[in-house]
Symmetry: C2
Subunit: 356 residues, 2 copies
Amino acid sequence: MTTKRPTIDDVARLSGVARATVSRVLNGGPNVSEKVRTAVLAAVKTLNYRVNPQARSLAGGGSGLLALILASDLEAEPNSFYTSALELGALRECLAAGYQLLTRPVPQQSADRHRQVLDLIETQRCQGVILTPPFADDHELIERIRALDCHVVAISPGPDTQALVDSVGVDDEAGGHDIAAHLISLGHRRFGFIAGIAGHLSAERRLLGVRRAMTEHDLDPDAVVVERGDFTFRSGGLIAATLLDGPLPPTALICANDDMAAGALSVAHARRLDVPGDLSITGFDDTPVSEIVWPPLATVHQPLKVMGADAVRILARRLSGGAGQGGDWRFHVAEHRVVPRASADRPRVHLATATA
Amino acid sequence: MTTKRPTIDDVARLSGVARATVSRVLNGGPNVSEKVRTAVLAAVKTLNYRVNPQARSLAGGGSGLLALILASDLEAEPNSFYTSALELGALRECLAAGYQLLTRPVPQQSADRHRQVLDLIETQRCQGVILTPPFADDHELIERIRALDCHVVAISPGPDTQALVDSVGVDDEAGGHDIAAHLISLGHRRFGFIAGIAGHLSAERRLLGVRRAMTEHDLDPDAVVVERGDFTFRSGGLIAATLLDGPLPPTALICANDDMAAGALSVAHARRLDVPGDLSITGFDDTPVSEIVWPPLATVHQPLKVMGADAVRILARRLSGGAGQGGDWRFHVAEHRVVPRASADRPRVHLATATA
DNA sequence: GTGAAAGCGCTAACAG
DNA sequence: CTGTTAGCGCTTTCAC
């Protein structure tokens, strides 16, 4: 049943036109009479013809390939829900838009990380790349990718990068603000903040939002103790332990992502603390992790699948729009929202110290 | 800097041989003198030449593309750790073996699921496909893929399929046996088993193993109450509630995967049961979920990343070995092992009923 | 508006 | 062992 697949010439023959005309119809080219167009389309249908992407690419029509670059580490492998959701969204949109996605985990701190990305793009002739944090903020990488005549879209880049490239993300500062405001409204006054790795600029902004919320509520901005983790479950637990052992421990732990919040939660359990009675804990992202743990995590929802799909959509528009390299980069804001769940509630023990 | 990339002709010119000879060197063909080989390789290096995969594919050299088919559902989306780990392993091995992986989520119960897979393979000219459950046991799909002259490897297929196609998986029956034996040794005598969806044959075998362990320990095989979930967190909770509400509730819940075990654990927490004191719970797979929840889940480790990598390795061997379609399919057994964690321990309340 | 012709970069016979 | 010659299926000038 390995019947030879029909080629563009078969379609041309059946519809009685030249090969070039079929090509025009297929690619929405100009100068095609409506009559011919329908005839060709009919032939395509009866033959069940589909273009050979390799041949098209060779002839100069573009490879139809997009790349998704994920930060991979020995410790924090890209098998997280965060990454998966982004990928799934991108995959679905690719299917709809007729592109293929090449997913590539790249060790975040390897010396040749740029080469790995550039090699993929060159060798496979990718037409667009989606950069996830922290690659999203690597300006040199972005420039080098562009030198390859390849479009770039960044997921959750920092403010500087937003002016440099198409990007998608939530308003992280607002997200941080909102979750902190939620905790403040519950009566919390002393906070611990578990930050992510330094290069992840958008996550850094979550802390700025937390501070703003505190200021707005006349709290001393120093009433939040900040320690840096690396986004992993393990680091969340480690940092939580440190913060809890400090003088005047916080009544609420705000974590820069769900995984670290889950780690903090485990430590709380190990210490037989009541969550949220003794300690409230919040995450960020609203990945399935936040529903799997007990009690479920209050967190900030980030529409990751939508963001992944948007990234592809942006790339597809650039590629068809013919707008080419021409500046005018936009930051596409995705909607975030606080998801209140049982891990955050009114502090029990320390109510007396509340200033409210 | 969009310098034209060097072609095979450039290499041929620089090394003073014919284009065909360069091709031979590049593809490890026979009949090449050592002298010429090194000369060509040198030219390749100085020119920083890399073959154009699209051109190679057009000319008949194979696309270098493999596909990974994942079951996607509205309820159970393929963003689980299970799927991610498999993909990550496959991705890494692809990088090493020089293949590209096309990941494709396919709605498991869509009417045209076969078409979706076959279309991808035909259109992209994939040379190999990795089928995950429940596609791994879809014999018709396997045959139709083969008709396209494409190799297949199944992840964790049932016994029948193992004779039909290359495959990778753990000994699920033994896994089920071992985790049950672990619980029995802890003193448990009454079990609940939360199974997965019916089509997932390899997961079904876990129950057979549980029954065997019970028989071996002179327990009535009916002392295990079985209910079917769908591998999701949510279903695990639902089924757990049902089992717990039955007459003579079990002291241990054996779940066919980690997600359902996490769901069961949440229900236990909601009911203020002490785990493992009042109820022991075990999972299967040893995904990160089992470490994220509290208490951590005792489970059966499955080396998913290794399995994903093995799948690619098998495909690569078939493709280079030239062995072609020629039968001789093998089931590659991956090592499983029981991972004892805090969610499973001696039953407290029901010790009196233990026969030990 | 449409057709004819010229490759894209590579592999695969087939000669030598 | 190595070179020559055909294409693979498509897009793209460039004529008409």
